[in-house]
Amino acid sequence: MIAGVTDLWSDQRSSNAPGLDLFDQPGQSDQPGHGDEPGRFDQPGRGDEFSSWESPGGEPAACAEVDSETALASPAALATPPAASATAPAALVAPPVMPAAPSAEPVAPSRRHEIATGIRLSFAAGLGMFPIGVAFGLLVVQSGLPWWVAPGLSIFLFAGSVELLLVGLMVVGTPLATIALTTLLVNFRHVFYAFSFPLRVVRHPLARLYSVYALIDEAYAVSAARPGTWTGPRLVAMQMAFQSYWVGGGLVGVAIASFLPGQIEGLDFALCALFITLTLDACRSRREIPSLLLAALAFSLALLLVPGSALFAGLLGFLALLVARFLFISRREPADA
């Protein structure tokens, strides 16, 4: 299964440039059911890797239930190829979902219909985003931060898990360098979204800018769950819906917090719980164990040596260990490309 996907992907490498305007053709949209016609799309045969990818042995996490935060773990966690070497670039971009055949929809629908569809598609993940947004707003106020930090973070960063993390870091005035590194590492997964996010369907430059800015886990997961069906209005509408759930939830949380008589102690555990679930979702096979061990090693050393900045040092140390691991493996298997 994975080998087949690898072949398809290596054929397509030459045609990719989703960020460029080369493929902007008036009236063109990713229409359902056309994925099997090479040349119909800007990426020939692109639909094929999805429709021919029958049963990937099931990573249903982002498929049936587009759970807001599990999407974080899905793309990279699911890039664990059973057979092919871990360095196959194709594995990196293996679609995170098991796609059913796209249902037939009316061809060339109106802009309003597309927007409505986009909003409708955002409901599943939005259902999770809103309550967590409320919890976020509550947490911000109860931590003692100014209320505007909640919508501020949600608008400037627009990345749920790192925002929750930053609340705790900001309260104690963590150095900006640590904040920058933490943001970089926690959000690093977004780097991989560009590979299969259908940005090319968004044509207006400003809309394109927004679409890139709003490329959150949920947006990626929902877009990847229905490949080949996206138009510009649909995609951007979905992303805007997500942002309104998130920012709105934060504002509601802030509002609720102002009515609460006292502190509800312990809400910050929501962050720990979130990361626990995310770690569980990312660790789906025994192949992850070496990484876990390296992370444990790095963080333990950091706790021992620099307890005051254990997070910063632990993350850096873990990265360093991974780089060393890569170099070690490349040296051992130079022919494995």
Partner: protein, 108 residues
């Protein structure tokens, strides 16, 4: 409690980094796609980083008050159990775990 300029600095830094992470790959897609190093990192990084963040946030939470150790452990077990047994529903697991912790910390 830090000052306004600090919060603004965090937001600006956050915007810069987040947007760069999302935007840059669209520009240099090809080399990234071909890079073995990037592929390897994509495979290895997530679980380790998340594990470090989990332990770090747990530690921060416990440091706030030593009396939180037992509630934290119990709530962690509840979260893990809810997630693995309850069908990996993030909201459910996070909700149950947080609820357990809040109840234990506030009432016990």
């Amino acid at each position: 409690m830090p000052e306004t300029w600090y919060f603004l600095a965090v937001m600006v830094i956050g915007l810069g980094i987040s947007f760069a992470l999302r935007a840059v790959p669209f520009v240099i897609l090809q080399p990234l796609r071909d890079s073995r190093f990037v592929a390897a990192m994509a495979l290895w990084m997530p679980v380790g980083i998340l594990a470090i963040l989990t332990v770090s946030t747990l530690r921060t939470s416990i440091d706030a008050d030593p009396g939180r150790i037992v509630p934290a452990l119990v709530a962690t077990v509840v979260t893990i159990a809810a997630h693995l047994l309850g069908g990996r529903r993030t909201l459910l697991s996070v909700g149950l775990g947080t609820f357990t912790f809040v109840v234990m910390v506030n009432l016990l």
